[in-house]
C-alpha cells in the first residue's frame, strides 16, 4: 500500500536538528552575500545562548562593517570610536567584573588605528574576549589597504598590489598579541566551512569561559574573506583565502594556557 508523507509529519519538535539562535535578532543583515561577519555573529549568539549568559554579556562593536553588530545580536552593546573597543571593554569589565565583555574588531580597527588600545588591554590581561576579523582590507570604506593586506594584494589604495618598499610588510598582530603575558588564549580560525565554523565556535566559547575563570585576555582571530573588497565571488574569495591568506596567517592555537 502506498502512503504519502506530508511536510507536517516531518516538522515536529523531535525531528528538529537546528534552529536560529534565540540571541540573534530578526533584522536582515546588511553584510554582503558571502561575508564572514554573519557567520561569526551567529557563532557568538549561539555561544551566548548555550552558556545562558544573554543577560550578563556586554558587547563592544567597532567602526567598520561590523559597526552594526548590535542590530543582530540581542544583547547590550556599546559602539566604540575607531580602534578604541578594548578601552571600552576594559572599563566595562572592571566596573562589572561579573559580566562577560567582548570586543569585536576588524583589521583596520584593531591592527591599525587601535594598536595601542589592543596591545595594552591584552598586556594588562583584561578578562575580556576579543574577536578579531582579519580580511586584510578596509571593507566599509570601499576596499582600501589594511595593515594585514598581503604583499601583492590589490586594494583601492594599493591598486597595483601592496609593495613592501612602499607600504611595509603585513602586520601579524596576533603573533605579537601571543607574546603578551596578559593573554591566556590566542588562536586563529576560519569559518569558510562547517568544520572551521565548529572549531571557531569552540574557541569563542573557551574565550568566554576563560573570562569567567579570570585567566586573562582571550584573543580569537578569524581569518576572513571580503568578496566585495577582493572583487571575487563568495566561493572564489574563500578559495583565494585558503590559498593566499592561510600561508601568512596559519590557523591554530598560538597560545593556550
Amino acid at each position: 500500500m502506498h502512503t504519502t508523507m506530508d511536510i507536517k509529519d516531518i516538522i515536529k519538535p523531535e525531528n528538529k536538528v537546528y534552529s536560529k539562535s534565540s540571541v540573534l535578532l530578526d533584522n536582515v543583515m546588511h553584510y554582503c552575500p558571502g561575508c564572514t561577519h554573519g557567520t561569526v555573529h551567529k557563532l557568538i549568539a549561539e555561544v551566548i545562548e548555550e552558556m545562558g549568559i544573554q543577560d550578563n554579556t556586554i558587547g563592544v562593536s567597532p567602526v567598520g562593517c561590523s559597526v552594526f553588530a548590535y542590530n543582530y545580536i540581542d544583547i547590550d552593546w556599546q559602539q566604540a570610536a575607531h580602534g578604541r573597543a578594548p578601552a571600552l571593554a576594559t572599563a566595562t569589565k572592571r566596573l562589572y567584573p561579573d559580566k562577560y565583555v567582548f570586543a569585536y574588531q576588524g583589521d583596520g580597527d584593531l591592527a591599525s588605528i587601535g594598536t595601542a588600545e589592543i596591545m595594552h588591554a591584552c598586556n594588562r590581561g583584561e578578562n575580556i574576549v576579543v574577536i578579531f576579523i582579519n580580511n586584510a582590507i578596509y571593507g566599509m570604506t570601499g576596499g582600501q589597504m589594511a595593515p594585514t593586506t598581503l604583499i601583492g594584494m590589490k586594494t583601492a589604495t594599493s591598486p597595483y598590489g601592496r609593495r613592501e618598499d612602499l607600504h611595509g610588510k603585513p602586520l601579524k598582530i596576533t603573533n605579537l598579541i601571543a607574546q603578551l603575558e596578559g593573554t591566556c588564549f590566542v588562536t586563529r580560525h576560519s569559518v569558510q566551512n562547517a568544520a572551521g565554523a565548529r572549531k571557531a565556535k569552540r574557541a569563542i566559547r573557551k574565550g568566554f569561559e576563560n573570562s569567567a575563570k579570570k585567566k586573562g585576555t582571550s584573543f580569537i582571530e578569524i581569518v576572513s574573506s571580503c568578496n566585495s573588497g577582493w572583487k571575487l565571488s563568495p566561493v572564489k574569495a574563500n578559495e583565494w583565502m585558503v590559498e593566499n591568506m592561510f600561508p601568512s596567517y596559519p590557523l591554530g592555537d598560538l597560545k593556550d594556557i
Partner: protein, 359 residues
Amino acid sequence: MAEYILMKGNEAIAISAIRNGCDGYFGYPITPQSEVMETLMVEEPWDSTGMVVLQAESETSSINMLYGGASCGKKVMTSSSSPGISLMAEGLSYLAGAELPCLVVNVVRGGPGLGTIQPGQGDYFQACKGCGHGDYKLIVLAPNSAQEMYDFVDLGFELAFKYRNPALILSDGVIGQMMEKVELRKEKPRWTNEEIKKMSPWATTGKTPDRKQNVLTSLALDAAVHEALNHRLIEKYKKMEEEEVRFENYMCDDAEHLIVAYGSMARVCENTIDLARKEGIKLGLLRPITLFPYPTKEIQRLVPQLKTVMSVELSAGQMVEDVRLAVNGKIPVNFYGRLGGIVPSPEEVFEAFKKEINK
C-alpha cells in the same frame, strides 16, 4: 563639626571623587595635574569604596574607558591637562553624541603645542566651543579655589547625569597646584547596581528578558533620525542655558565698570576691584562659574549701568568673544591677557584697566 584639610586643588579632586561615590577614574600622567591620579593611588579607594582606578596607556584610551564606563551607568571620570584634552577631543564628541554622562577635569597649562607647564586659560575655546567634531556642548565648570575643585566633582556628576552629557571642570595650573583648606562635605556612597538599573535604564547593564537591548552609539545613518538626534541635543543645551547658569558678582550693584574673569584670574581680579574701590572707581567683578552655559543674561542685565567691560584672561583673548556677544556693541569691551604662564598681579590688571578707560 565640619572637617577641614589643607590640600592642593588637584588632591581635592581626587579626595572628592572617592568621597562622592565615583565608580572609576581612568587617567594618564601629565603636568600640572598628576597629583590627581597619584593621590588616588595612595588612597587605594578600591579597598574602601570599591572605586576602580586605572592608569591608561594614553589620554585617547582613558577617554574611551570613560565611554565604556559611562555606558554602564557608572560615575566615571578622568583628569588631564591641555595637550591631553586635545587627544580626548574625539572621545568627548562620541560621549556627547551617545549622550553619556562623565566628568573630565582639565588643569589647563599654556599652549599651543607642548607649550608650557605653567598655568593658562587658553583652552576656553576648546572647552566651550567644542574641541571635537560636530554640534555638541560640554557642561563647563570653572572653579577658583581648592574648595570648588572639591565641590565641582559632585556638581559635575550631578549635572552630567541630569542631562546625560559630559561635564568638564576647566581649572588651571594655579588652582590645581595651590594649597588651601578644604571642607570635606558629607560622603555620598557609590550607587549600587540595582540603583543604576533604576536611575539609568538606558545603561548597558546586561539585557534582561523584561526589556529590549540597550545600545549606546552616536551613529545614525538615516538623515531624519540624525537630525532629530541633533535637535534633541540642541534642546538639552537650551535647557542648560535656562536652568544651569552659575556666576558670582562682586561689587556689581553700583558698578560703572565691569571686569569679567573666571578661575584663578577671578581670584586676582577680586583684589583689583578692591584697589579700584579705594580710588573711588566703581569697578565690579563678574565671575562666570559655568562657562557653558554662559552668564550672557547677567552681563546683559548689567550693561545698562556700565560704561565699559573688560575681560581678563590668561589667554590671548578667548572668553572676551562671549562677553562681546553678550554686550552686542552697546558699550566698549576691552581685554587684558597674559600668556606663557605669567599670572598678572592685581595692580597690573588695575593699571591695564585704567589705561583702557582713559583712552
